[in-house]
């Protein structure tokens, strides 16, 4: 969940020696789809694609309760034929972009499909085009926080930090309880408090200041 992109996330996966597939949701279609206003979250999906576990906020692989819950699900016998280990699940960026573009053009009034396409455009570094598509969604629905955050990702890539922050602030004002948007504004405004190491005291102070306003 990083509007700023994979670079800021990679530092953590490298340090933790993560071996599972890791991905970045920049334009944040995922939080909109799953509807979570905070991280970290844990979701367990079974072989049929059914959600078997949902923990929104405070999911932590160091927390024994969370570990027990997931291990319990893993130890349940599977009714599905075993899938051999391995397998390559990565697909080319261009393929996802093409599919998203086809879907959006097939149903031009569907704003969700248009935003999905615009999010793929950002991943494919077609930020100018993505910006126009996000803007076209906002022309129809000025209160779309997903489009505003998407627009911010395109502006960040285009080096227009002020415009990115303005779009994020609009999104934050529309969805005041959303910490994902709120904290990204902090991280973009004050990168020195987040990278290379997070300063929790700064965040606590900031929260106090904002509470007074």
């Amino acid at each position: 969940m990083d509007t700023q992109g994979a670079e800021v996330a990679r530092r953590f996966t490298d340090a933790a020696g993560v071996t599972f597939p890791s991905a970045v949701d920049r334009a944040q279609g995922l939080w909109d789809l799953y509807g979570f206003p905070v991280v970290p979250n844990g979701f367990f999906v079974d072989e049929q694609g059914i959600l078997r576990y949902v923990k929104i906020g405070d999911f932590d692989a160091r927390n024994p309760d969370d570990v027990t819950a997931i291990e319990g699900l893993l130890s349940t016998p599977s009714h599905q034929p075993a899938v051999p280990p391995g397998g390559d699940y990565a697909r080319p960026l261009s393929e996802a972009l093409q599919k998203a573009e086809e879907a959006a053009k097939h149903d031009p009034k569907n704003l969700d499909l248009r935003m999905t396409w615009a999010e793929r455009l950002v991943e494919n570094k077609q930020d100018g085009r993505a910006r126009r598509e996000f803007q076209s969604v906002l022309d129809v629905n000025p209160k779309s926080t997903r489009a505003l955050v998407g627009l911010a990702t395109a502006y960040l890539d285009l080096g227009q930090k002020d415009k990115a922050l303005s779009a994020l602030r609009q999104a934050s004002d529309l969805d005041t309880g959303n910490w994902i948007i709120h904290k990204q504004i902090w991280a973009i405004e004050h990168p020195e408090q987040f990278y290379p190491t997070i300063n929790p005291n700064w965040q606590k102070e900031r929260l106090k200041e904002e509470g007074k306003k």
Binding site: A6, A23, G49, F59, A61, V83, R120
Partner: protein, 64 residues
Amino acid sequence: MRKLIPFTLGAMLVGASLPLGWAQKIRVGEPAPDFTVSSLDGKTTYRLSDFRGRRVLIFNWASW
């Protein structure tokens, strides 16, 4: 069976509480909405539905 290996990604010490009046969109027992996300190297994408037939743990975190 593979054990879960504890690790730390990011820090979420501040602002991790759910806002009042927040309504969860997804439910246990219902299909997980399909999504596509870009890999961290920015070269490929992953799609949840491609993992059908496997059990998937999605750990969702942020750098901030």
